[in-house]
Structures are given as structure tokens and as C-alpha cells.
């Protein structure tokens, strides 16, 4: 069947990226004016956004990869929840050393990613169904590990989690005249390293470039000599690893595991990617945009928190509305393009 709809490459993403960054700066600016009293303008507020959303940064980066390759993974949230629970259980109930526990969960991520990847790439099942099953599978597994909340008390882990890394600018002076430097936690560092690595893979490695080809036009990619199945498979393996890493980073923030954790996380990851300019149809996307997508989501949350009158349920609704807006925009654009061509 001939496909006459030709997707626009968004001029190398630069235009859409510009829009996303502009939107973020605009929202931040609004926040500065509205919520100045609540300390919106401090460096720490911005850094808190990073600390609270480090896990999302990693997960959204993985999601961006999968979306670029033309697939989707809605199991990410459940994997994060499961990983947190596994870490808590391993360290608290089974007395495993922190580093070994971390290694175990990362290995789990890779294996789980490989399982999903095999079903999608080689058995050619629909990614949505497979990852939907994966989502329920992991959520149920989390309950099997433990129904109660487990708080992590492992000193090594907590040490990593709570150590403050001073940032040497943007300091504020508190009421007693003492200079307070803003800080971040190591989880932010991990997240930033991860997203940089993903950026490099996308831009400079053959594997990364083949993701774009496969996502843009699978048929053409095949004819151009790319091993489509292997590429798709590896995408999900890498994504599984990143999901587990996201879980680790997330856990460093919450230092506990419980059944309902990270529910809806996949939605936030998809929203961040889409708002950041990743096309749901595949072939187009950039982790830089995704990063700003996460920041936009964080800004919305901070707004709602600072405002104090709106319930936190509005977070999900506003994010869904934004996502809906961008999805509709993308599809209208595709339809408009198709009509122009024919």
C-alpha cells in the first residue's frame, strides 16, 4: 500500500525545540512574577525541580528513544515502582548490600526490556499490547514482593541519597545572615549523565541514527540495509535499562517502596517527550526537548503547589490537557501536510 504522507522533519527539530524552550522560559517567567513571595525565584527552587524529577528525566529519555524508533512503552511506571520495591526489599528484608542490590535491579531492567523487545521485534506483536501487559505484570509483581510500604534504612544507600552537593552560585542569605549554598543530590547527577549519554547515542552513534531511520520509514530502512528487528530489539533493551535506572534514581528520592508508587509515571514520560517535540508516529525527537518537557511539567507542579488553592489532582489533568493539545497539533499537522502534497 502506498503511503503518500510524508512527515516533516521539523527542520532538524530546531524550530520545535525553540518553541518548547520558549514555552518553558515563558512559564518560568510567569512563575517568577506570580509566586515571588514563595521563593519561586531562588536557585534552590529550580534545583528542587531537578531533584524531584530526576527519575522522570531518565525515564523520559528512554521513552524518547522508544518513540523515535516508532514504538511505545507504557510499562515504565510499573517498572519504576517494581524497582523501588525490589531495592527496598533486597536491602531491608534480605540484607543485601546496596551496590549489589543496585546491580540486581539494573540487570532486571535489561532482562525485562529484552523480553518485551523480543515479543515486539521478533514475534512482531503490537508494542502497545505487550507493554500494557508488561505494565500490569510489573505492578502485580510489586504487590507480590510486599504489600506494605518498606522504608530503606541502608546507610550506604541513604548516604548516596541524601548527600548534598553544593552548587557554588545562586546562594541566598537566610534570616541569620548565613550564606546558604543551594544543593543537589547525586540522583540529579546520575540523571544528567544519563540524558547526556542518550543524547550522544542519538546524535553520534550508528545505532542511534538507525533508530531515526526505522521510526521514520521502516520499509525504507529495511531496503537501505538496516537490520530493523535487531534495532527495535536493542531499543527496548536499552529502554529497560533506563527504566530500571530511572527507578533507582526515583528511589534515591523517595527512599522507600510501596505498591502504588509511580502510578501514571509512563504518562508523564510520554507527555514530556511529546511536549519536547517527539512525534508519536516516530522518526522525530530529541532528548534536549524532552528535558525541557520535564521542566515544563515540573514548573506546572510548582505553580500548583505555590498557589495552594488547587488540589494536586490538577497536575495530572493539566498535563493530560497539554499532552492532548500537542497530540492533536501533531496530527493536524500531518493531515495538513498530506493534503498539501496531494
Amino acid at each position: 500500500m502506498k503511503n503518500n504522507i510524508i512527515k516533516k522533519g521539523f527542520g532538524g527539530n530546531s524550530f520545535l525545540l525553540f518553541v518548547t524552550i520558549a514555552m518553558f522560559l515563558m512559564m518560568y517567567g510567569i512563575g517568577l512574577t506570580l509566586f515571588h513571595e514563595q521563593g519561586f525565584g531562588t536557585m534552590q527552587t529550580f534545583l528542587n525541580m531537578l531533584i524531584d524529577n530526576a527519575g522522570l528525566i531518565v525515564a523520559a529519555a528512554g521513552m524518547t528513544l522508544v518513540l523515535i524508533a516508532g514504538g511505545i512503552d507504557i510499562s515504565i511506571g510499573s517498572v519504576v515502582g517494581l524497582v523501588c520495591m525490589m531495592l527496598a526489599d533486597l536491602m531491608q528484608n534480605k540484607g543485601v548490600d546496596a551496590m549489589i542490590a543496585i546491580a540486581i535491579v539494573l540487570a532486571f531492567g535489561i532482562i525485562f526490556g529484552a523480553a518485551q523487545g523480543w515479543l515486539i521485534a521478533y514475534l512482531r506483536l503490537q508494542p502497545f499490547i505487550v507493554t500494557l501487559a508488561g505494565m500490569f505484570f510489573c505492578r502485580g509483581l510489586t504487590a507480590m514482593v510486599s504489600v506494605d510500604q518498606i522504608a530503606i534504612a541502608n546507610p550506604t544507600f541513604l548516604g548516596i541519597a541524601q548527600s548534598n552537593i553544593k552548587i557554588l552560585f545562586g546562594a541566598t542569605v537566610n534570616k541569620r545572615g548565613k550564606l546558604l549554598y543551594p544543593f543537589v543530590h547525586p540522583n540529579v547527577i546520575i540523571a544528567l549523565v544519563a540524558i547526556f549519554a542518550v543524547w550522544y547515542v542519538c546524535k553520534y552513534t550508528k545505532f542511534g541514527r538507525s533508530l531515526f531511520a526505522v521510526g521514520g520509514n521502516e520499509q525504507s530502512a529495511l531496503l537501505m540495509g538496516i537490520n530493523v528487528r535487531k534495532t527495535k530489539f536493542l531499543t527496548y533493551v536499552l529502554n529497560g535499562f533506563l527504566a530500571a535506572l530511572a527507578g533507582l534514581v526515583f528511589c534515591l528520592n523517595t527512599t522507600s517502596g510501596f505498591v502504588e508508587q509511580a502510578r501514571g509515571f509512563e504518562m508523564e514520560a510520554i507527555a514530556s517527550a511529546v511536549i519536547g517535540g517527539t512525534l508519536l508516529t516516530g522518526g522525530v525527537g530529541t532528548v534536549v526537548g524532552t528535558f525541557f518537557g520535564v521542566l515544563i511539567k515540573a514548573t506546572i507542579e510548582t505553580f500548583i503547589r505555590c498557589d495552594g488553592t488547587l488540589s494536586s489532582w490538577w497536575n495530572k489533568i493539566v498535563l493530560s490537557a497539554l499532552l492532548c493539545f500537542f497530540i492533536v497539533l501533531q496530527s493536524i499537522f500531518v493531515i495538513w501536510r498530506a493534503r498539501k502534497k496531494s
Binding site: L123, R124, I129, L132, A133, F137, S311, I317, I327
Partner: protein, 358 residues
């Protein structure tokens, strides 16, 4: 129910073979685990027994599965917002009814219609995105999948200290309301069974007494051909999503009546996977086209039977999804084209090896 006559029995059997086989399997397993499984008695004036319980609890799933069947058949996609829409519709209904012990704040019939309207609106939203804007169904319904419960929480607000605080669990105290999820006086069969039965019959009527069933199948099998013979595939697909929304809201109504409250977190939880599973177990291809409502109904009952046996074996509600996820993947894998190709290649390979040996 298939829109053709009973003559070619082999085809009939082929379509419903899987669901009936699965159901029998489940019943046998249940019987093994619980020897009193098939016992039915009358206690306190109502029917009592495991079988009754299964069909009762399967009612919401049956209704959801019917809606999902049409969505899958016409658009080759799935609607994963059904659980959230159930919760949303339930919240609308309960909020309107109020929590007085003496009277409904709004007549029940109006609240019920409002509940269904919420379902229609959500279905129309999904349908517009999928049919008109041609967005992938999974992605389109992902929006309500997330936003739905949030909106339900906002609707479930109660006045506390002179402020409306959302995120509450609202209760309906009228005894009358509980009848829809429970029993009507002097009726031995649970009400949800009646509602489900009535709804399935209504659906059968719509699909088989109008040309709609034929249209949905045609559009699902060959959309191009459908257009050239004069069908409006956009409207047909849109209708299926609206219908699915109505199903979700009806299921939400029943659920809220059972617990005489609206719990936006738990109503319809995990039901989307169950509904997809029911459709797949019913022998319906997830790639669209021909469908069987009867198959989905049987599939829904089978899943409820599966749930019951898992409970009996000590699995908790939170852990259920693990097993269901495995079953879904197995069924979808067996149905997959690629798997069939492997089977054919394997058979050819075996034949050639035998041929060489001889």
C-alpha cells in the same frame, strides 16, 4: 452474536471454540480447587453460590467487553480509558445523588442519564481523535486513561469547613441505590446480571436489526472497499467509541451501586486489561474485522472464573494482574501472524526432513 445463520456449523465452532474451551477449562479448575463450586442454594431469599457470584461480578466486565469488541473490530485499536471513564461516570452519578438518607438530591433517573452522558462525552472525545484526526487509538485513549481519574477525583468533592475539598469518597445512603448493585426485593437473581443481560440483548438488537453489525465488520475488514460501496467509516468508528464510552459509564454505575459510593481510585481499576483479555479470549482478532459478541461475553465470564480460582489459591487482588498479563501475551502471541508463519515453516521443515529420510 454473529450476524449469520446457523448453517455452516464448522465456522461457528471455530469462532467460539476458544472461549468455550477456555471457560470449560476454568470451570474444571475451579471445581478441582473448590469441590463445592457448583453448589447453588437459596439463603436469605436470594440465590447463593460460586457460580452465581462469578456471573454477578462478571456483569461489569461483560458490558465493558461488549464495548471493547466493537472498538477493536472497527478500528483495530483498543480503548484503554474504559476503567477511568467508569470511575468518572460513577463520580458524576454519585455526586449528583447526594448523601442524604431520605431522598436523592436529584431524581435517580436524571443522575443515571448524567452518568451515561459522561460516558458519551468521553467516548465522543476518543472517537473524534481516532476517527477524524486519525490518531492511533492506543495513544488517543491514553489521555483519558490518565486524566479520567483525576477529573473523577475533582468531581468527588465534599464540603469540609465551608470549602469544597476534592478527592473524597462520596457515599450514597439511600437503600434504594444499593439495589442496582445488589438485589431488588423478592428477586433471587442479582440485579447486575439483569442489567448485563439486558444490555447484551440491546446490543444484539442494535447490531442485528440494523445494518450496523454488517457495517462495522466491513469497515474493520476492508476500509477501502467499505468506502467504495458507500459506507461512512468515520461515523462508524466514531459510533463504536461512543458506544464503548456508554458501556464504561454503565459499568461504573453498577460498580458504584455495589459499594454505594464513588471511589475514584478503585472503580474500574485494571478493568481495561480484563476487557481486552475478554475480547481476545472470545476468539476475536485484535486486528479487527469480524467479531463475536457472544465470544466476548463468554470470555468475560471466563476471566471472572479465572479471578475466582486465583483468589481461591491465595492470590490477592493486587497480584492478579501478573497472571492476567501472562495470559494476554500468550493469547496474542498465538494469534499473531508471525507465529503462524513460524508454525507453517516448522511444519514444512518437518515434512521436508521426513521426505528426505524416506
Amino acid at each position: 452474536m454473529t450476524t449469520r445463520m446457523l448453517r455452516p456449523r464448522d465456522i461457528f465452532r471455530q469462532q467460539l471454540f476458544l472461549p468455550i474451551f477456555a471457560l470449560c477449562l476454568m470451570l474444571v479448575v475451579n471445581f478441582i480447587v473448590t469441590p463445592t463450586f457448583f453448589n447453588i442454594s437459596i439463603k436469605n431469599g436470594v440465590l447463593y453460590g460460586y457460580i452465581i457470584d462469578i456471573i454477578n461480578r462478571a456483569s461489569e466486565l461483560i458490558i465493558l467487553a461488549v464495548g471493547m469488541t466493537l472498538v477493536v473490530a472497527s478500528s483495530k485499536g483498543t480503548d484503554i480509558s474504559v476503567g477511568a471513564v467508569s470511575a468518572l461516570a460513577a463520580a458524576v452519578c454519585v455526586r449528583l445523588l447526594g448523601s442524604s438518607y431520605d431522598a436523592y438530591a436529584v431524581p435517580l433517573i436524571l443522575a443515571f442519564l448524567a452518568c451515561l452522558s459522561a460516558g458519551v462525552l468521553c467516548g465522543a472525545f476518543n472517537g473524534f481523535l481516532v476517527a477524524k484526526l486519525k490518531i492511533q487509538p492506543m495513544v488517543a485513549t491514553l489521555i483519558l486513561f490518565t486524566a479520567g481519574r483525576g477529573i473523577a477525583q475533582l468531581i468527588s468533592a465534599r464540603e469540609i469547613n465551608e470549602k469544597m475539598v476534592p478527592g473524597q469518597i462520596l457515599y450514597v445512603r439511600m437503600e434504594h441505590f444499593k439495589r442496582f448493585g445488589g438485589f431488588f426485593p423478592h428477586v433471587v437473581i442479582p440485579t447486575p446480571v439483569f442489567i448485563a443481560l439486558g444490555f447484551v440483548l440491546l446490543t444484539w438488537f442494535i447490531l442485528n436489526k440494523t445494518a450496523l453489525g454488517l457495517y462495522i465488520k466491513s469497515v474493520g475488514i476492508n476500509q477501502k472497499a467499505g468506502r467504495l460501496v458507500g459506507l461512512n467509516s468515520t461515523m462508524i468508528i466514531f459510533f463504536c467509541y461512543v458506544f464503548c464510552g456508554v458501556c464504561a459509564s454503565l459499568a461504573g454505575f453498577i460498580s458504584s451501586s455495589r459499594i454505594y459510593s464513588s471511589d475514584a481510585n478503585n472503580i474500574g481499576l485494571n478493568m481495561e486489561l480484563d476487557a481486552i483479555l475478554a475480547v481476545a479470549l472470545g476468539g476475536n482478532s485484535l486486528a479487527g474485522g469480524k467479531f463475536s459478541i457472544a465470544g466476548s461475553v463468554i470470555g468475560a465470564i471466563t476471566i471472572q472464573a479465572l479471578t475466582t480460582s486465583l483468589y481461591a489459591m491465595g492470590v490477592t487482588a493486587d497480584q492478579l494482574p501478573v497472571y492476567k498479563a501472562i495470559v494476554v501475551v500468550l493469547i496474542v502471541a498465538i494469534q499473531a501472524d508471525e507465529f503462524k508463519r513460524w508454525k507453517a515453516a516448522y511444519r514444512l521443515h518437518r515434512k521436508m526432513a521426513k521426505g528426505v529420510a524416506e
